[in-house]
Chain length 428, copies 2
């Protein structure tokens, strides 16, 4: 909402229009700089609801927001559609895929992550990731194609089985939504198929689901999933994924082949390739190392935030999880640091405020740990209260009034009619 | 809503889940037959609103309705996802792309149309049709890519020009929506681009727009388009389409090259390929010849309806236009004829009831000729009354309550906020 700053104002380039990049751009609106956001898509994706696009509950457009809509009445904010080839930190320049060179005084790297297949053979080829909007649409298309193939071919060979790899929030939400969807759809739209024919299996390498949550909530989530027909296998590693299913370990040496028509990969993310191509120091997990104020060591004008950065956690130890909140707070902090640097102030360490975590399992069932404002202690919630908290917060954080209204409409419709809204496969 | 008819009931196969096929399937619900609908998509597309998907006003899912949703509680209705290879009328069988053979007692061919490029060189390769949902999404993607390319490359060489070929309802609606969209978007999201840089050109071979409408309405539509910045060129034939634009005739022998970043082909449709591959008698325009009751001559058990059929017009002359109403009424008639044949009644000729035609040009501007119930005379409407009539009828004819609500929401949002709703490019 600011007026245009002077022509010779410092130039900030933000790589990536995800949670972190958008938060930084918004916070920079009150700083006298020219800001350019670069992204390979024209839109910001609300990733926490991708699983609902994948399971037909929402339209793709409901969770996507055009980056240029943020530009209205902000004269000091530009958008450039393009891929980032590399960062030349010595030259203070970003090179885009089309050869464009963008010079900067400050740089915020917020390019997010790519899928981490952990070297499992066949996973990249045959498992379906769920990190982008295209991924979500691909999951949806493949799932409905499964049903249609089962109608014409009969459901032999486990063609109707779905396996979800990874028991974190994404995997749990996918498994719950898929199980509910399949029950509903098999009943209403595929009366000729045997409802017992397919299965939904959730595979997790650790001993419990939802690593970051406290034990009772994780146990509740597992019970709720089981009640919805999801088979949960813990302490189970995936050895290989193939066209017809996947191989898991079953005991010390033994392995079992599970036939499946669809394998969804929700096991983890790695930093995006921009990190690797830019000669920046990376952690063992491929994330960019950052100092206490989120600037890169030795480069006080370059910040890395969100999934791509190894953001230090308050107590030390593992870096912060690759979730929306660390990215948003990191974006705000980077913008504050740029403002401080312009006025000659000293760097301030980033201090993460844990607002809690949540995951939904299905209709009126979710788990949440919500930070209480006064004490910052985490309040555990489950069942209907957690589900309504989840609904409210997701609506609140969506970008754009139209998207909020459309998501509310789709959810209300589904809640009342107890059917799915749009479940159409488009493209491909 | 019928119970299941006896196992040995006659089998009806409907090819195509468009307006005609769906209308026939619904009408057959009260006839004691088993019905199978075949379509290459799992969804019915509401084609009259495709241009709004193309111009970012609606989500793809808003104008698509899963065919299987029609199957709920209809035990005698099946859906088969697949392509039709050919019809063997002697054997009374349809062969699908996957080798499946569907036997029928009655067949309704409602496979619609494909784009007719009228042999114009380069048109099939370089012009973008707008007949399917994928087409509409491709137009949208290419249009926004135009804008982004103009930002990075600077709009030279007419990269921002759009040419729409064909001045029928589809071309007029596309041109009006594109012109409004460009004004809005250039202003709000591309402040760095010169609003004068691109142009929207509508090319029509005949001497007037909107062939089927009365003269004053067509002239009104042309004025309204011009007022919105659309350049209209009548009596202009397209000679060639290339990657960078198109060549039109300009006078007897001369031709002119017009640079354009996007050429939208709205010039006409031909019958689908199923007609050609099935040894049925076709008209010069490739449509299936049908008798007075819409059955194929010599094949009283095979009907052809909608865009694929040369449905006789009430007064003779040209067959009915390839629009929704002839398809819907044809579907109802074919179902009645099947019911009559089962009870040994004589064939009844199809009698088309003209309910009128309409086309929208932009915000509060449309033209319509609406048949008055009593006299069947056509009432000409234009401006705001025609626009509201257009809105109401399109909502009414949409399939599915959720889609109706979503389209209403998007339209209301846009009307109030005077912005576009979803304008996101997904896929590709």
């Amino acid at each position: 909402m600011s007026g245009a700053p002077p022509e010779n104002s410092p130039r900030v380039v933000i790589l990536g229009a995800g949670f972190g990049g958008i938060a930084a751009a918004r916070a920079l609106a009150s700083v006298p700089v020219h800001t350019t956001i670069v992204d390979r898509n024209y839109y910001n994706t609300f990733q926490p609801l991708l699983y609902q696009v994948a399971t037909g509950g929402l339209n793709a457009g409901d969770v996507a927001y055009p980056v240029r809509n943020l530009l209205r009445r902000r004269h000091a904010l530009d958008f450039r559609w393009g891929t980032v080839e590399r960062v030349d930190a010595d030259k203070r320049a970003v090179f885009l895929g089309d050869g464009t060179e963008l010079r900067y005084d400050f740089l915020i790297i917020a390019t997010g992550a790519t899928i981490n297949y952990f070297g499992v053979p066949g996973a990249a080829e045959h498992a379906q990731a769920i990190y982008t909007l295209d991924d979500a649409l691909a999951v949806r298309r493949r799932m409905f194609e499964q049903f249609e193939h089962a109608v014409s071919a009969g459901g032999e060979g486990g063609v109707l089985n779905v396996v979800i790899v990874g028991g974190g929030p994404t995997g749990v939400e996918m498994a719950g939504a898929l199980a509910e969807l399949r029950t509903l759809i098999l009943d209403s739209s595929y009366p000729s198929l045997d409802p017992q024919m397919g299965s939904v299996l959730l595979v997790e390498q650790k001993e419990a689901l939802l690593g970051g949550f406290e034990g009772p909530l994780a146990a509740y989530a597992q019970r709720e999933l089981t009640r919805r027909g999801v088979e949960v296998r813990l302490s189970t590693a995936v050895r290989e994924v193939s066209a017809g299913g996947l191989t898991i370990n079953s005991g010390e040496e033994a392995s079992t082949f599970l036939p499946a028509g669809l394998v969804v990969w929700a096991a983890g993310v790695a930093a995006s390739s921009v990190a690797a191509s830019s000669e920046l120091a990376l952690t063992a997990h491929g994330r960019i190392e950052v100092g206490p104020n989120l600037a890169i060591p030795g480069r006080p004008e370059v910040f890395a935030i969100g999934d791509v950065a190894a953001t230090p956690a308050p107590g030390g130890g593992h870096p912060l999880a690759q979730l929306a909140q660390p990215a948003i707070q990191g974006g705000h902090h980077a913008a504050r640091e740029i403002s401080a640097a312009l006025s000659g102030a000293q760097p301030t360490p980033f201090s993460y405020k844990d607002k809690g975590i949540m995951a939904t399992i299905g209709r009126r069932s979710a788990v949440a740990e919500i930070a209480l404002p006064a004490t910052r202690r985490l309040l555990p919630l489950r069942g209907t209260p957690a589900w309504f908290a989840w609904l409210g917060l997701h609506i609140y954080f969506l970008l754009g009034g139209r998207n909020r209204a459309a998501v509310l409409l789709n959810w209300a419709w589904r809640y009342v009619s107890w059917r799915r809204g749009p479940r159409v496969i488009v493209g491909g």
